[in-house]
């Protein structure tokens, strides 16, 4: 093991110990705040500081007691399903809009003001309106994620189209490409890395938003689960929820990054 590797493992460990220390300090000062060891027991099971036998949230994630009481695995699945549904819808709608905005000056002039105005609105501001329209928790969450995800996809797709160099378009002109051939053979390959950057951004924000959205909509999902644990005074589970949400977000980002690299011609053949 070289010194770089040692640094990479030892330094985060030191920070981890420091965080535990601060955490213990807070638990000491704030009454009823879960200690690290209580939280560990709540996650993986065992005997907690009060001497009670506990089943860990993470050691029994698959249980289903009834419609409203399911293990954390099912909560996460529910959230991921909504995120993916909204995300895929946003891709299907956002990429064509982005291509259109990028290729046509008129489309850009027509749509840009609205993109710029709606983009900075927190998707949660839409949530009550969507709830009113759909009267359904799932549809509301999915459409909230759709609105969250669509802006970075539109903007980055349009950016990708704009980055197509005039030289490539000249090649297309000399070969007399039809508009469709131009899109498929030139514009899309150039734009794909940009589109994936937009998708990666979208997915990251969508995962941030779903937690808050589910706290508002209730029912099932990791966001609601965290909120529910607050109401049940299970504060240690909130911490477990935070860590789980973080880990999943991290994994989503890595997977999305790998997929993006796979489709990015600029990352190929340079190694």
């Amino acid at each position: 093991m070289n010194s770089e590797m040692i640094k990479k493992t030892v330094l985060p460990l030191l920070v981890f110990l420091f965080i535990l220390q601060v955490w213990s300090g807070i638990a000491h000062v704030v009454a009823d705040f879960p200690t690290p060891s209580d939280t560990y027991v709540a996650a993986f099971g065992g005997i907690n500081e009060a001497g009670d036998e506990m089943v860990g949230v993470l050691s029994d994630p698959f249980y289903v007691n009834n419609q409203d009481d399911k293990g954390i695995f099912w909560q996460i699945v529910a959230s991921l399903e909504r995120v993916f549904a909204g995300f895929v819808l946003a891709i299907l709608v956002g990429i064509p809009i982005g291509l259109f905005v990028g290729m046509s000056k008129s489309a850009q002039y027509a749509l840009n003001p609205f993109i710029q105005i709606f983009k900075p609105v927190s998707p949660l501001a839409w949530l009550p309106l969507l709830l009113f329209i759909f009267q359904d928790i799932n549809m509301t969450a999915i459409s909230t994620i759709f609105i969250t995800s669509i802006w970075p996809i539109i903007i980055n797709t349009a950016l990708g189209v704009k980055s197509v160099s005039q030289d490539y378009m000249n090649v297309a002109k000399v070969l007399r490409f039809s508009p469709l051939e131009k899109i498929v053979q030139i514009i899309l390959p150039v734009s794909v890395p940009f589109i994936f950057t937009g998708m990666r951004l979208s997915l990251g924000i969508a995962w941030l938003v779903i937690v808050a959205a589910e706290m508002l909509t209730g029912g099932i999902g990791i966001g609601y689960w965290i909120w529910d644990e607050y109401n049940n005074l299970n504060y240690h589970n909130i911490i477990i929820g935070i860590i789980v949400v973080g880990l999943i977000g991290f994994i989503l980002d890595i997977v999305m990054g790998k997929i993006a690299d796979y489709f990015d011609y600029t990352k190929k053949g340079r190694a």
Partner: protein, 264 residues
């Protein structure tokens, strides 16, 4: 062989400048190019060489005059006037093979799969790039890229090959190497070629006629020089050839005495 193969008749190009008078880049350009002729266009930077070539390729439209190819008006770009761009313009996500294949497929949709493959491979070997055919443009040298550009342009069987300073970005050794490639290809399959260059030796070495342009604005053809050198030409032997020396001097005198550019 028709004498009137490609003709430029009274070509003018003016660029509108917002808030000012139009900029007339070139004016009154008249030129007849024979089939299988190699024409070099030389002139100081900014005189309108690229502008002229872009009008022949159809990527830009003239504001006056007519361009006729085999007695037909040239309107808009098309594969019968293939262009080799200065910066090669290969599609970086396609391999060498795929870059050529894309062009052949589009221009000759009637080819069967084996015919297509044979044609692409023929043009890859024409520029000696068999070993690099599966590489991406990012993985090969500048000279190799330009060779692919030439192969791509020739693969679609153009009536005219248009080259805008095709070797301008290359070092002099690679440049010489590409000139040899071009002459060898030309020896085997005749093409009508218009090549823009800044390089006097390149103009004389490659061409049958050198078109010398006056300085802009309102640039036009100043002189036309016939290069009466037999082919194949050998760059080393040419150095002492009186005709070669005469041609060089004629161009030198045109560019640096008659139409010297003092702001350079």
């Amino acid at each position: 062989m028709s004498e009137k193969f490609l003709s430029l008749e009274g070509i003018e190009k003016r660029f509108p400048i917002p808030g000012k008078e139009d900029y007339i880049a070139v004016t009154d350009v008249n030129l007849e190019i024979k089939k299988d002729e190699i024409i070099a266009i030389i002139g100081h930077s900014g005189c309108g060489k690229s502008t002229l070539l872009n009008m022949i390729s159809g990527l830009d439209a003239q504001t006056k005059g007519a361009i006729l190819l085999e007695n037909k008006h040239v309107e808009g770009p098309g594969p019968e006037r293939a262009v080799v761009f200065q910066n090669h313009s290969l599609l970086p996500w396609l391999s060498v093979y795929q870059n050529i294949e894309m062009a052949v497929k589009k221009v000759m949709p009637q080819l069967s799969a084996p015919e297509l493959r044979d044609r692409v491979e023929k043009f890859i070997s024409m520029v000696n790039l068999e070993h690099a055919k599966d590489k991406l443009p990012g993985e090969i040298s500048g000279g190799m890229k330009q060779r692919v550009g030439i192969a791509r342009a020739l693969s679609i069987q153009p009536k005219v090959l248009l080259m805008d300073e095709p070797f301008g970005a290359l070092d002099s050794l690679t440049r010489a190497n590409l000139q040899e490639h071009l002459m060898r290809i030309q020896q085997n399959v005749k093409n009508t070629v218009i090549i823009i260059t800044h390089d006097i030796d390149e103009a004389v070495l490659l061409s049958d006629r050198v078109i010398m342009m006056t300085n802009g604005p309102e640039a036009t053809i100043g002189e036309i020089l016939e290069v009466n050198l037999p082919r194949p030409r050998n760059r080393v032997e040419l150095q002492s050839n009186p005709e070669y020396i005469r041609c060089r001097e004629a161009i030198l005198s045109f560019l640096y005495e008659k139409f010297a550019k003092d702001d350079e």
